[in-house]
């Protein structure tokens, strides 16, 4: 089996092409296609050279990934330069999209952090004997944190981003109140706080509803984006004897 048709090369090349698709997303189609084609050509030439030079597939894959990682900052600067020259309307849409993604991702991280914190407090309380069974709200908070984690992971892929944001709306809406109730069983400070602030529960539901609304709004926005914009060109690695001209 030649180096070009090895699994090591194909996996590395696919990763690099995916990265290329990522940083060219939303740019002028011609500019993006030219960069993608140039990288595809580079990968092919690299593999052919490696084959001729007797480089092992594993070493070739390592070298390809290293070149991509070392060049990533330059890729992002290049993207930023291209965007600076782009139509202001396009720039605005891309920035708004990035801001929306950042907001939803932050909500997801917050939810996961709350779930993890409750899990930590629960384990600690069980170990030191503060509680002898798992309180329902603690279990609820941990499950909601887990759902948020799955939604966050799913958001990495653009195709399922909208549905991930919809899913994230559930923990975003409920986890604050659920965590408050869980800590009532697991933390002495929380008991004091809950007793001093009688309106804490409606407040957590109000904040939760706002966060859930943000997730739903983002999901609707991503669902309404044209599929082409979301998916881009498929990143492919062509095998030997399958010219890509």
């Amino acid at each position: 089996m030649s180096v070009e048709s090895s699994g090591h090369f194909h996996r590395a090349a696919r990763d690099v092409l995916r990265w290329t698709m990522t940083y060219t997303r939303g740019l002028d189609a011609g500019i993006a296609a030219r960069r993608q084609d140039e990288i595809a050509s580079d990968l092919h030439e690299h593999a052919v050279w490696a084959g001729d030079a007797g480089v092992s597939p594993r070493r070739l894959a390592w070298s390809i990934r290293l070149r991509a990682v070392r060049g990533a900052p330059a890729d992002l600067i290049w993207r930023s330069n291209v965007l600076r020259q782009a139509d202001p309307g396009v720039r605005l849409v891309l920035r708004a999209d990035a801001a929306l993604l950042a907001v939803v991702a932050m909500i997801g991280v917050l939810d996961v952090a709350l779930g993890a914190f409750v899990l930590f407090r629960l384990v600690r309380a069980l170990v030191i004997g503060d509680v002898h069974s798992i309180p329902g709200p603690a279990l609820g908070s941990i499950i909601l944190g887990l759902i948020a984690l799955l939604a966050l992971v799913a958001m990495v892929g653009e195709r399922q981003r909208a549905w991930a944001a919809f899913t994230l709306a559930v923990p975003a809406g409920l986890i604050l109140a659920e965590t408050g109730r869980a800590l009532y069983f697991l933390s002495a400070s929380a008991v004091v706080l809950v007793n001093r602030i009688p309106w804490w529960e409606p407040a957590t539901y109000a904040v939760g509803a706002a966060l859930a609304l943000a997730c739903v709004a983002a999901a609707i926005h991503w669902l309404r984006l044209p599929t082409k914009n979301r998916a881009g060109r498929p990143a492919t690695v062509h095998r030997e004897g399958d010219p890509r001209a």
Partner: protein, 116 residues
Amino acid sequence: MPRRRSGVLLPLELAILDAGSTLQAADGSFFGFGLARAMADQDGSALLAHGTLYKALGRMSEAGLLESEWEAAASAEAAGRPRRRLYRVTGAGEAALRASVRAAPSPIATTRPVIA
């Protein structure tokens, strides 16, 4: 970050012009990976990163130091590979390289003189 003075080339750009001129003298043009390999062979360094290489090539094309065109689809298909983007050092690129060799002999003089 301080802005670069107009007309001043970065060491990377000089190295690209130098290696590119050598390849061009032999083959008439050069392509990204071939250039990266030639530069790595020249100074024994690692292959240039994708982002660094193609960002520099794009910037130099915009500055008129290089010109490029895509290889004909038929010849790439015949060779069973993706089309190459073929670069050539322009007259302005050659002049910039010559001027740099004259102005700062130390870094460039260590490489092969390629401009007659």
